[in-house]
């Protein structure tokens, strides 16, 4: 039931967090009575839009850099890490950390473009730690982890570095967790300046910290900040 003081909040979400955000919003709306609207896109794109005056109240980014920049620009009231992404390697044949190098030889390996996507950057550092030589296989760089998963799902790559959060939707034969092999992928949220007097935005900002929200995020395949 919608309370008398019900308000709207618009949440801009990095595409890789979209399904988790939808679940959060469902619970938030039921609990608070406010209405939440989700807009999604790539983190860089949402940043450019916010700078251009996009009507977003809360930004759930896929990295820490863009929220920090917004804060610097004076466009964000506050920022906070809301999830830590985890990388996994999916494959059609079973692999272990030791057999990767051999298994990769000559194969198509899909990962997000490290220049554009935080998961891409994490993938390259994982590859370094595993001492994989990019010259021995064919790296396929696409725009984001979701497209990495699509490339794998359509049979166009033998290996793919994807977010653990995507696993439930992907029929992967074999999964190799790489949690310890890359620096944490910090996904920060920003409360934007224009939301200052919006109780719904404040309510969502607070909700993000609740145990209820944290358990949803954790169940979706993310680590949680302290």
């Amino acid at each position: 039931v919608r309370p008398a003081a019900a308000e709207d909040v618009t949440i801009a979400v990095a595409s890789n967090f979209l399904s988790t955000a939808e679940r959060l919003v469902e619970v938030f709306e039921a609990a608070s009575g406010h209405d939440a609207t989700i807009a999604h896109g790539s983190t860089g794109q949402i940043y450019a839009q916010i700078v251009s005056g996009a009507p977003f109240d809360v930004f759930l980014a896929a990295d820490a850099q863009r929220p920090a920049l917004l804060r610097q620009d004076g466009l964000a009231e506050m920022t906070r890490t809301y999830a830590l992404g985890k990388l996994v390697l999916v494959s059609r044949i079973p692999v272990t950390e030791d057999s990767i190098s051999e298994a990769f030889a000559g194969q198509n390996v899909a990962l997000a473009d490290p220049i554009v996507a935080p998961y891409g950057l994490a993938s390259t550092s994982a590859m370094e730690r595993l001492r994989l030589d990019t010259a021995t296989f064919q790296p396929i760089l696409v725009a984001n982890v979701a497209q990495v998963a699509t490339v794998f799902a359509t049979g166009n790559a033998d290996f793919a570095f994807i977010a653990e959060a995507l696993l439930p939707r992907l029929a992967a034969d074999h999964v190799l967790p790489l949690a310890g092999k890359h620096p944490p992928i910090r996904q920060d949220a920003a409360l934007l300046v224009r939301a200052a007097d919006n109780p719904a935005a404040m309510a969502f900002w607070t909700f993000l910290e609740t145990e209820e929200a944290r358990s949803i995020i954790g169940a979706a395949g993310y680590d949680l900040p302290e």
Partner: protein, 223 residues
């Protein structure tokens, strides 16, 4: 999932863009088809330019151009009280830019094929230059008009990079069907993607077949 708002928004955008763009393209194409001016090749080249930028990038520049900080954007805010970006109007303006080449070029091609003698005949029969354009040149160029309209309409439906950038993907306001399908693919919801794509293809196929079949009935044709 209630798709109706998304579908209705998509059709509105495509229809409005097509109507406005054809209206704007008409005088431009006419001018290009009939002018003896030396700058014609320059203007022709400019009308094709929106194509060479990737949609997202074009969207990025349109975002800058229409943002409340810009001259255009601030004027709009003063006039209408809301920002141009992330509004339906902003989407329409962005689509106009992006589809301009498809509207102007086929129309110009078809208008250039209209024989001067036929227009001259109309003039001696009492038609002003404008009247002759609408009663003679345009009907004779109607195949080019159709091509332009179809390309614009279809392209606006499928457009997505610009729309996502300028529109911000706001449900009921700027979220169109192409974004919905894109979302389904991005969230690995392939089932929904297949259903939506098939739906869109079948619908578009139906509309286009009807348009072409009707056009065919219209008797003698040229251009």
């Amino acid at each position: 999932m209630n798709l109706w708002p998304v579908i209705s928004l998509t059709l509105q955008l495509a229809a409005i863009t097509t109507v406005i763009l054809m209206t704007l393209a008409l005088p431009l194409a006419w001018w290009l088809a009939t002018t003896q001016s030396r700058v014609r090749p320059v203007i022709e080249a400019i009308t094709a330019l929106p194509l060479v930028l990737p949609p997202t990038v074009l969207g990025f520049y349109l975002l800058i151009l229409m943002s409340p900080q810009s001259a255009l954007g601030s004027f709009w805010v003063r006039m209408r009280g809301e920002s141009l970006t992330f509004s339906f109007t902003g989407l329409v303006i962005a689509s106009l830019f992006y589809s301009l080449p498809f509207a102007v070029q086929p129309l110009q091609t078809a208008l250039m094929a209209v024989p001067q003698a036929t227009v001259d005949a109309a003039r001696t029969l009492g038609a002003s230059a404008r009247d002759a354009f609408f009663s003679i040149s345009l009907p004779l160029a109607r195949r080019g008009f159709l091509t332009a309209a179809v390309l614009t309409f279809a392209h606006t439906i499928g457009e997505f990079g610009v729309v996502l950038m300028v529109g911000g993907n706001i449900p009921g306001k700027t979220r169109v069907i192409s974004i919905e399908i894109f979302t389904a693919v991005e969230t690995l919801d392939y089932g929904t993607a297949h259903v939506l794509s098939a739906g869109l293809l079948i619908f578009s196929f139906g509309v286009l077949t009807l348009v072409y079949a009707l056009n065919r009935k219209g008797g003698a044709r040229l251009g």
